[in-house]
Symmetry: C2
Subunit: 362 residues, 2 copies
């Protein structure tokens, strides 16, 4: 019979709790504190991929903590509007949020770097940069003044260029186009002569239908079919130059986080990593069947952006990234870190992932 | 002040424990049982990527469980030899193992499908097939008769073709070549006229140095530099046709697993998912710097396999996969599942990942 060491620590709680931290060598301290947290999101409740990622995160945390940390997930607009998630978590209205960093460029221009940069890292590279290339440390430094701790918690993989009702034959066709596309991709569209608009996902269909926008970029086939964009747009363009591997973010109010015992902090960290890959796995499994439905059942025309348009967008992208890098000291460090990482990852991917795609399709 | 419900359940243990399962709505039951488990691995202790993945898994589980589940990790040969990991876990000598399914084709030919198939899924697709395409269910069905529960717990990304001391100019150059390459890649080499050998990583350098083998495939630059293969081989070939996205496996003795309470089971599941991506992140961040060292400091010649060799290897691969699919009913179902998944994932990746790599390099 194994000996059981049991220490029960019960704390009186008044606002913040002061909880026991068991070390690896000490007898086990049974953590008895319960937490009930709120998570606000920028997505419709239970939305495929994005919203399910948030729900699955909450489920994993509850199961791993045996119910000690319960997280109630709110869709966009249920507790706060989509674009108030950052402030709500920063101020403690909710303890957690799930969204994308590029929605918060009004707080800091460099935030966009933690979702995606045009012609930047794809999903595999982005996760690697964040977790093994210094990205997460920079992200935490950037969000520190907002009382937030960020985690990477999902990725959609390469997105599409988006939905259009006119053909894009040259860069001239971007001029005057009112297009929903957030983050740095939006800045590029604006500099190319278009008018970039940031609208949350749930409002996109109506915006396009009523002519508020002429074109839109959302995610990819799996999500775009769910929103029904094929009913209001004719052409579906690739490749996803503006969002090649956008990371979704989990943000946690720092004060709330610090009240947690170490095991719950570890549970949050691993749940975020698990969801980070699981969301990408879901998109990878679902995108093509949705694309087939869009093209074969709904008559959507799949089109590739002309090479010279891609080149011009690339030129403008590099220009804009350089400007943001010069905007603040930390933005400069983040841009340098991504650039150096991309240089080496792309060099290896040229003989691994790229060369393999080529070999497989021979 | 928040009310604290506290139920302490102490169980007398005799071999198996019968543990309390707290439901989401019930008051929290503090789990007080401690577990000390052994994990045997097919890798050298603390080996980059592969071995670190096993160590990190154990650390995550210990942190998340506040020390209730401690896992001691053994390198290859420390408790059992590399290729006895499967039997050791199956029989309960150790509760857990970390390795790769294609080492166990002596138990079931179909096991190789759960590491990699030549010209098959890359890392992103493999994780998606396992977790959102029915792969995990098939894997668990296959391993059930061995008293094992498998999890995906790491991926190296696209590997290299491997190390050679003679140039491969045509398929004729494979003839008579004694090459270390396990799994289905090995079967292909044998049918192409070579002699495939399976040797564990730690024994490879000596085998090549002493002429037991003429060529070898191990992983990629990050790992291959660590083993020093540049000292005993001249040419380093790509692309990694035989292992485009090999999954590492965590196996757990079923009887041991069933003694765990639900929260520890959930912790294991998320830790495996977290490590599944983290290992890939590590390779993605480290491969290129190692490749640069190999080429620039050690004078290794990086070479691309000729297209007609790739085509012939592809032809043989398809033939062998078809034969294994006909070997048993379950092998047939696994092969069909992978084939259907690959067809759709590759179709979408043609306009997403592939098209993006092309756009980025313009």
């Amino acid at each position: 019979m194994r000996a059981i060491f049991l220490i029960i620590s019960i704390f009186l709680i008044s606002g913040c709790s002061d909880v026991d931290e068991s070390s690896a060598s000490a007898p086990i301290a049974a953590q008895t504190e319960n937490y009930e947290w709120k998570m606000v999101t920028t997505w419709p409740k239970n939305y495929p991929g994005l919203g399910l990622g948030a729900e699955n995160f909450a489920k994993k945390v509850e199961a791993m903590s045996a119910g000690r940390l319960k997280i109630k997930v709110f869709g966009a607009g249920q507790l706060v509007p989509a674009f108030e998630v950052f402030d709500a978590v920063s101020q403690g209205t909710a303890e957690m949020g799930h969204g994308a960093a590029y929605y918060w460029t009004g707080k800091s221009k460099a935030a966009a770097f933690f979702t995606a940069i045009p012609f930047g890292l794809n999903a595999q590279e982005m996760s690697s940069w964040i977790h093994h290339g210094g990205g997460l440390e920079l992200w935490r430094e950037l969000y520190d003044e907002f009382n937030l701790i960020p985690f990477s918690a999902g990725n959609t993989g390469v997105q599409m260029t988006g939905w259009f009702n006119k053909e894009i034959k040259s860069i001239e066709d971007i001029k005057g186009l009112r297009m929903r596309t957030p983050g740095l991709g939006g800045d590029v569209i604006t500099r190319a002569g278009g008018i970039a608009v940031t609208i949350s996902g749930g409002e996109l269909y109506t915006a396009m239908q009523t002519g508020v926008i002429d074109a839109l970029e959302w995610v990819g086939p799996y999500n775009d079919l769910a929103f029904g964009f094929h009913q209001i747009a004719k052409y579906y363009y690739y490749p996803g130059w503006s969002e090649p591997g956008p990371a979704l973010e989990l943000i946690i109010n720092k004060d709330a986080y610090q009240t947690l015992p170490d095991d719950l902090k570890a549970i949050i960290e691993s749940a975020a990593r698990a969801v980070n890959q699981d969301v990408l796995d879901e998109y990878t499994a679902r995108n093509n069947e949705a694309l087939v439905t869009l093209v074969e059942e709904h008559g959507v025309e799949l089109k590739k952006l002309p090479d010279d348009v891609v080149k011009e967008l690339r030129r403008i992208s590099d220009e804009i990234i350089q400007e943001i890098a010069e905007d603040s000291e930390i933005a400069g460090r983040i841009a340098s870190s991504i650039k150096a990482f991309q240089k080496q990852a792309a060099a290896y991917h040229a003989i691994s992932e790229e060369a393999y795609y080529e070999a497989r399709s021979q």
